[in-house]
């Protein structure tokens, strides 16, 4: 029981570490189209990448400070909302990060394929 709980905690920690970098990529990719915080959160959740507001808003703020995002307060449905979108610099960085992402993905796949071939022999 305790072992299972520890295993679960360990898994959650590692999962959190793995997701952290991916979320930046997901947020940048999703903001190629303009979104406000709440709709962005919903869109990510619908794609299977649920992110809580305590993580999303500080992340948006950090990416904006880094010049990768730009934001603007506008009124929509009788409420003032803040809309985010990718900047030119953000677009370039996103392309580079996606390149990295594909490289990592193919490396991991290659490692798994090699191990799979070894275990089959």
């Amino acid at each position: 029981m305790i072992h299972t709980m520890l295993h679960r905690v360990e898994f959650e920690n590692l999962r959190g570490e793995l997701r952290r970098g991916c979320l930046v990529l997901a947020v940048l990719a999703a903001l190629r189209d303009e979104e406000c915080g709440y709709t962005l959160r919903k869109a990510l959740a619908e794609q299977g990448l649920a992110i809580d507001e305590g993580t999303l808003y500080p992340l948006l703020r950090r990416l904006e400070n880094q010049g990768l995002l730009a934001s603007e307060w506008r009124e929509q449905d009788k409420r003032k909302k803040r809309f985010y979108r990718l900047t030119g610099e953000g677009t370039q960085i996103l392309e580079q990060l996606l390149g990295e992402w594909r490289d990592i993905d193919s490396s991991i796949n290659a490692i798994l394929a090699k191990q799979g071939a070894r275990s089959w022999n």
Binding site: G37, Y38, E53, Y57, R61, R79, K80
Partner: protein, 339 residues
């Protein structure tokens, strides 16, 4: 929705002044959007308990605010291992001896014990405990402040990033005895034996124009010290020829150190000095000074016991280390037949 306003106010309290309004406006918008969506799904207004559940899910205000704050630490990950290492040194080199000396004083120094126990044991222990905590607090506080300052300096100058792999210390094998140290021990012990044997046998010695006389117990101390010095000379000779520790030699060192410590502690309590005579000191004054020297020798006894315990612990640790297989560096120099 008073509950939401109260929640946002509590979050706002912890936020940096310049960003308060902006962050709260955004959080407020997100909260209201979530509530509105939930209400349109249910087709009614949310009850207070349901709003409460949403807020609870979002987390304690201070934690929510904390995520917007820059990550700060008093001592960062670069310096933290060094900081804990220094704290361990402070603990071992300062606080442990402090406790040992206090126990020694309480055990062997009757004046100190009487003073401490003027009221009760409880008060004596309480007073020592609070004094120890004061000392520990000061020591840990000082180390922490120094490292906090270093952290700020490191953040600006990155002085820890400039390092040279060639300046790293050589691979150390704790079982190897450096030849320089064995040679030094051999010379010091041999000189001690010669000087001691040729000058210290007589219970009456002349140093310059001072005639010093010691107690009739002196021959015991003389022969005891001579034997220990001879044993240490022999051990240093063997260590020079075969420069690595073995369990037998480490045990021999423990015995010789224990015997030396016992002899020295006994000497401090033995009123060994019986008198001295010199031209410009009257006999009465000479007796006074003799008594004073013996008294101070006796007073240093607890400290000597403390030092002896530390030496004994170091010897025991050496033996224990020899009995435990060393982990780690597989390419460390071979011990060449150490058992």
């Amino acid at each position: 929705m008073e509950l939401i306003e109260r929640y946002l106010q509590a979050v706002q309290f912890w936020l940096p002044k310049q960003q308060k309004a902006d962050i709260i406006a955004e959080l407020s918008e997100d909260l209201h959007a979530q509530i509105e969506e939930r209400e349109s799904g249910l087709g009614r207004k949310l009850k207070e308990a349901e709003v409460e559940a949403i807020l609870r899910e979002r987390g304690r205000p201070v934690l929510v605010a904390n995520r917007f704050l820059p990550q700060e630490s008093l001592i960062g990950p670069v310096l933290f291992p060094i900081y804990t290492f220094v704290l361990k040194i402070v603990f071992l080199a300062y606080l442990v001896p402090w406790v040992l000396v206090w126990i020694g004083m309480m055990t062997f120094n009757s004046t100190y014990r009487a003073h401490q126990l003027a009221h009760s044991w409880f008060e004596a222990v309480g007073s020592a405990w609070s004094s120890l905590w004061g000392t520990a607090f000061l020591a840990v506080g000082t180390v922490t402040i120094v490292f906090a300052v270093l952290e700020r300096v490191q953040a600006k100058s990155h002085f820890l990033e400039n390092w040279d792999p060639r300046k790293l210390p050589a691979v150390r094998n704790p079982h190897v005895i450096p030849r320089a140290s064995a040679s030094f021990e051999l010379i010091v012990n041999a000189v001690c034996v010669v000087v001691w044997a040729s000058n210290m046998y007589s219970p009456v010695t002349m140093i310059s124009e001072i005639r010093i006389s010691v107690s009739p117990l002196w021959p015991w101390f003389f022969w005891g010290f001579l034997l220990i010095s001879l044993a240490n000379t022999a051990l240093a000779g063997v260590n020079l020829m075969r420069p690595y520790w073995t369990t037998e030699r480490a045990a021999f060192r423990l015995l010789s150190d224990a015997a030396g410590a016992a002899l020295f502690c006994w000497l401090l309590k033995a009123n060994i000095l019986t008198g001295f005579a010199t031209a410009n000191v009257s006999p009465e004054r000479s007796v006074e000074i003799t008594n004073l020297i013996n008294m101070w020798a006796a007073k240093t006894f607890p400290f000597a016991v403390g030092v002896c315990i530390v030496i004994a612990c170091a010897n025991v640790y050496r033996i224990a280390r020899l009995k435990t297989p060393a982990p780690g560096l597989t390419n460390a120099p071979s011990l060449g037949g150490v058992r």
